[in-house]
Amino acid sequence: MWSATIAGKEVRVLAKKELGIKQLSDVSIEDLEARLGEELEDREEMDFCLIFWGD
């Protein structure tokens, strides 16, 4: 467990390996939050049903 002060805030890095963090020097709190998890993209598999209207 280690911590750093970023943008005036104390940030504790929970699991360096899991979060894939190499350096803390330019990590923002938002980045840390992003590494904890992220929203998966929508999985709407599609097929166009009109011929390309510029062709």
Partner: protein, 397 residues
Amino acid sequence: MHAGECPVLAPDVTISPLDSVGGDRYVVHCNGHRYQVGPLLKGLVEAIDGQRDYESLARLLQATTKSPVTPEDVQVMVQRWLVPRGLAALPGTSFRELSAAPSSLTWKRPLIASQAVRKLSRPLTWLFHPVLFGVLLLIDLAVWLTLPARGFTWDSWLTLVEIRMVPLWLVLKICSAFWHEVGHAAACVRVGGRPGAIGVGVFLDRLVLYTDLNNAWTLPRNQRVLVDLGGVYFELVLACLVGVGVFASVPRMPMLFVMIHVFLLPNLHPFLKYDGYWLVSDALGVPNLHRRVMEVLSGLVGRRQANRYVDTLPGATRLAVQIYAGFCVLFVPLFLWFYMAPSRMLWTYYHTHWANSRSIQEFLASIVPMAAFSVLWCWLSVRWLSQALKWVLRHMK
């Protein structure tokens, strides 16, 4: 810190494993949104029961994840990650209501409900038998090889794109697109998944049919690949049925056979979110592939983030993502050229009508039929391009 504060988990939260190369990952489902998380958040979500405070949650997490988690860490994860996403709430507060999950489609409307889709696709799952797959591939190849002998030449290709053929191809395209979507759903049912609704939507500037396959995130990678290929495979089935007509010398069957393949191939497009994109993403085991591309590109322009997800990938996979990112960059000008085709068509149309009109009134009267199309296309383009630009800027930070 609020000692003794016991967070509460949202009622519809479920967790399932995520098969990816990113290590130990899970999908947390909640209220139509899906998040990929690591063992820490997964462990925390499982531990929150409305009875445990930060201290007891930290003790439990230490035991399950072997990470030296403190009560302050738990508080940060709950308050900064789970609460804003509506996954948890603090005592005395309500769960945050989120808007609908982000979609690639500008507009969408379900046509067939998920239950009906499952009923429709279940009887078709036998089509994915491996032996049948091999037989169909052989039939398809055989038909291609016999086409020249049946008089299908380069001139025949040119007749396919004649303007008088457009209505026929339009009907064929709509039918094959629907069959394609049923193929995705049938593949999903075949591997034990639960496909959602089939619907119609607008992607970029074009009308598309789609199948909601968000449930496929819970499937193993190889099964997700099968789901990705399900649509193209069903079009191959259709092509082989027509191919039988080719062997039986039924008139027009060679043209139909070729046209089904012409409609089938663009689905394998790997850069926009067509089947090819999902195929690359699932084959590599890298979800959110476009975001990974932006991580690679932002690194190239000197905005290298210290904690890029792409850096956590195994070497070969990371290299594959970097190569894919390179092709994406090459694809952008090509895409914009084709995407702007309607604008060139509109320019020619308006320029011709302006030149042939004797007054402004005559010009305005002559362009009425095209005005609605022009407004719609411009609106879709501006909307999509601004969204794409915002997305790129956000991920280039």
